[in-house]
Symmetry: C2
Subunit: 633 residues, 2 copies
């Protein structure tokens, strides 16, 4: 409740008294709870239902349990806005509960360490958008991030000193709990384990020594499933960690195991022969079963990635699918519960709309009988940290994560991406009021890129505006193309270039594309309205003028030097856009070959450069096509 009041203050600036004097309240918010206790730890499926009624002078929030009241309070907070009558909450009547009980974020804290303060504000944001599972990816080849008292060499030799103390973890879990968020830890095994082997090389399938992996990709080191001592170690380790993390689910990864070490190790091959294990995937299945037994011994449900689903694994485990609906449907048919992560990978730099249109119940899962569909518990966004640090993490998560949160909470019928973007832009600001830093951190990174100019220009803010205007049409390249061959980046590569300092999705480019479509729809017989042409031209000319202003920066500044080519290509795209508008205005349309030559040139200018894409290209492409359209018809 105090957090709620502080939230109101952050949002409105009103200094809400935490202990109001009796009789001072002109309007009240009444909270009615059927059950007062908030059981710890929270469990999957805990009741989150609430009813919120707001009328003049009186708001009533009714919930079956405190968790529902928490959700309802965040809705109330979100409804407060500034009108010409002051801060108001609109009269509403909301009966709300989530579509899925598992709505999570999986956060990789291994590849780059994420400090607790950043995790805390991530949890704050998750609670605001009603996510309820924080899946904490705590170990990988590039770092082991948890203090183990039983096996201290894990953190001592596997973390560069960057790990979470057990006391800190307990505090974080307590904090998450107070926000209505479960914490599910993940210790990925038997692959993705190089950092374990730095301290305990005897766990590996090939002789050491090992050291923390600094590159990114899929690596060969894997635990030795043929060595009984591996299971003794894991038994002790899991006893310690299952006690530290109270949630009933416990994630043991299981993805992307390379068979090389197993194939090369004669004793492992002998073990396989002895036990009639014919292939390495079946050896992983054997390992998974053993681990599942250990996890179950400590009273937990095991969670694993798709690969954990192997013949003989009991249906009590939960499958997290990075492969997609087909794998998820197959798991459900076999009796496993599952959650979807494919389609929700925030590190792929996809637009929010693409994530928004992905649903755990879709395609093959939608075709399942209702009983099997029920096994699909929800989904998890996933953020892998190869190319992000705590310095720009917020911008990789937000506001896109809010779109995924809405997908997992709201009815399947919510499909309008235009409306989603309108709300997302408001939510994005709202989240920053509550401590997220997704826009601030990029602004500061742009300032860094502009820093060499601050003194020269005299007007640092205007100089920054010019750089912002240049950057606003750019997006990072998509998918995993940025680190395609895995050679360019290591854990210590600076992530301070322009590509690191822009949002995954360009609002300006989307707006321009929308404007183009709007103008084209507004045309009659392929002739655009003259005021529409003027408006489009003005947009392009403004970017042209800005481009002239920003260029000198690239000369003075080593980090921006790479943008010269980007600027050349942007110039081409803008010129071609203006040319298309001229053609549309004159009515003299291009023939097909001339149009196609232009499109080819335009597409060339769209090739990735400095790991970025010029995202107004698709809008300009539509204009060129339109300028060639009449004659073609």
């Amino acid at each position: 409740m105090i957090r709620m009041l502080r939230g109101i203050t952050r949002q409105t600036g009103l200094l809400v008294a935490e202990r109001p004097a009796p009789g001072t309240a002109a309007a009240t918010l009444k909270i009615i709870l059927a059950a007062q206790d908030h059981p710890a730890p929270q469990r999957l499926g805990d009741n989150e239902h609430y009813v919120l009624n707001v009328a003049a002078g009186q708001a009533t929030l009714t919930a079956d349990a405190p968790l529902g009241a928490l959700r309802g309070l965040n809705t109330f907070l979100q409804l407060i806005h500034l009108s010409n009558a002051g801060f108001v909450v609109p009269a509403v009547s909301i009966d709300d509960s989530p579509r899925f009980p598992w709505r999570g974020l999986s956060l990789d804290c291994s590849r780059h360490f994420i400090p607790l303060a950043a995790i805390r504000r991530t949890l704050d944001g998750m609670a605001l958008v009603k996510l309820n599972v924080f899946h904490w990816h705590l170990s990988d080849d590039q770092g082991f991030r948890v203090e183990s008292k039983r096996f201290p060499k894990l953190q001592e030799m596997g973390s560069d000193g960057l790990y979470y103390k057990q006391s800190e973890i307990r505090e974080l879990i307590e904090y998450a709990y107070s926000l209505g968020i479960r914490v599910v830890p993940e210790f990925d095994m038997p692959g993705h384990t190089t950092s374990w082997f730095a301290g305990y090389p005897e766990l590996a399938s090939a002789p050491g020594p090992y050291s923390i992996e600094r590159k990114f990709g899929i690596f060969k080191p894997a635990m030795n499933p043929a060595n009984e001592e591996t299971y003794e170690f894991l038994d002790g380790f899991l006893e310690e960690m299952t006690a530290l993390f109270p949630d009933e689910y416990f994630h043991v990864g299981g993805d992307e195991v390379e068979p090389d070490q197993w194939k090369a190790n004669p004793s492992i091959q002998a073990f396989m022969k002895e036990h009639g294990i014919e292939t390495e995937p079946l050896l992983q299945a054997y390992f998974s079963k053993r681990v599942q037994q250990l996890v179950a011994r400590y009273g937990k449900h095991m969670v694993g990635w798709d690969e954990a689903l192997q013949p003989g694994i009991p249906t009590t485990i939960l499958i997290q699918s990075w492969r997609g609906p087909q794998a998820l449907a197959e798991a459900a048919r076999k009796g496993y519960e599952g959650i979807l992560s494919a389609g929700y990978y925030l590190d792929l730099m996809q637009p929010a709309s693409e994530h928004y249109l992905v649903s755990p119940i879709q395609g093959e899962t939608a075709a399942l009988p209702v009983e099997e569909q029920k096994r699909i518990l929800g989904g998890e966004a996933a953020m892998w940290e190869e190319l992000a640090t705590s310095g720009n993490l917020d911008a990789k998560l937000w506001p896109r994560l809010a779109a995924i949160a809405e997908r997992l909470w709201s009815p399947a019928s919510a499909q309008d991406t235009t409306s989603m973007y309108e709300r997302l832009s408001v939510t994005s600001r709202w989240l920053e009021f509550h401590g997220l830093r997704h826009r601030q951190c990029l602004r500061m990174m742009l300032e860094r890129l502009d820093a060499g100019d601050a003194l020269a220009a005299g007007h640092p803010d205007r100089s920054l505006e010019v750089l912002e205007r240049f950057a606003e049409v750019l997006e990072p390249i998509k998918g995993y193309t940025r680190n395609e061959n895995g050679e360019m980046y290591t854990q210590s590569t600076a992530l301070n270039r322009l590509v690191d300092s822009i949002p995954p999705e360009s609002d300006a480019a989307r707006d321009f594309r929308t404007l183009v479509e709007h103008c084209l729809q507004n045309s009659s017989n392929g002739a655009l309205a003259s005021q529409d042409l003027t408006r489009l031209e003005a947009e392009l000319q403004a970017w042209q003028a800005n481009l002239r202003e920003v260029r000198p920066l690239f000369v003075r500044n080593a980090l921006m030097a790479e943008c010269n080519i980007v600027a050349d290509r942007l110039e081409t795209i803008l010129e071609m856009g203006v040319e298309a508008i001229d053609a549309l205005r004159s009515g003299a349309r291009w023939d097909a070959s001339s149009t196609n030559a232009r499109l080819a040139r335009l597409d060339q200018a769209y090739a990735p450069q400095s790991e970025m894409l010029i995202q107004i290209q698709p809008g300009v492409r539509r204009l060129i096509t339109a300028a060639g359209a009449v004659l073609v018809r």
Copy 2:
């Protein structure tokens, strides 16, 4: 050292390894220390001298003691900048030590409570600009902010639950110490003590009950100096607090005591008669002496405001002067050490240049003989929190505090405010890289004021730009005029209006004024160059165009409604500026009476409105004067 490396990462984005592999360093920073130990607690006058030499591939920092190395590391950090060769540190040779040993910030945490996180980042900023005393104003009429274990009703009844635990205070002192900052606590007495009396009314000079004062101003409640039990209480209290705060200085305030309660209390009057104390100021002197004896008993030097200097007070106390150089000189002549705060009050909303030109050695203090001048130990900026909360504190402190810090560290000869502003604009960004939020917090507050528009406009960032452009010419009114009669504001008044959301000093207005002066100097025979006239006109017209865009916001938004009149006046000022430029261009100058009529109208438009000033008015005023000048001559 780790903090230094993290600072480099924050500033550059380079992921500097905390444990670099041997042989990887192409360039090194060598630190040579004559003395290794960093004595705790720090003391006034500890050696801060350092020598920094940077040459190709090698930087050497030499210091007599770790404190000097800390200062030198911050200089090194400040020198790192982005050039066309990457991040570089220029070749320099610096031999540096401070002009004054006491360079502080006094921060009021009573009138509005300031959370520890905000204090920690304030300390970070102080260390970056080499301030070395955090003067923590911990009690006042509006709140008692320290946990007392001996007298728990102090915080229980005097703080609304908003106080610092002793463990938190110890941690904060430790943190400040690691930054080379001493922490001097202040418990203001015998006035400014209403919050004490909420729990302990028997300390007061008039019967209770008392409750926390919610208004701002000077209030009548004062401790009872005639009651021996007051001293018994203070003895116990000071025993506890002097143990909690390790610094050798201990501030007991002593300012602004109202005599009313003392005059009205017969037993106090009888006490005065009995002891031959003729006036209430002399009664305060008696109280001060008693308190000084208690403070001395626990091994501390007492610090007090000017009023503490009373006949018979030993010269071991230190005087903090809010009155000015005359009072400070008088104290020095009498043998007291002193620090200057008059001229450094950040809550007066003065420009940085004014603070910068104030020196502890100036006027009367400059006229003192060298021996007496040595008693002037430095100065302290002061920030009182009547009209600030942690939400906008950073903007009240920074970047102006950096200008005061430079005054207290650098030689007296540094007097060029133009150069100061150039460096301040760079420093301002630099401070935000290290966690300060002075620009971010105002940007967010402006977003709040613009929030009603976010959905309507579709382009929230452009809508914000329009509001920013409107706000950039405004400043809060100066001095204590904002709360002049003390009736408008209480502790719970929301500080979320436009006046709360703008910096104390408008860069745009200063730049415009500078441009006007530059153009006038560039004139020949009063005729301005035509390109200068065009440039000035363009500036004014841009604000005019923006004004038309921003006006609709005032209709939709209760918090901005008050800006309609501001906008009207700004319109007048801009129109008059354009008119003056027309006149200057045509050469047809106004006669004196016409000019004066215009100036009168212009000055009317400059009257405070919504607690703000339109700060481009002085620049426009110069233009109007110039337009009337030729005929007058």
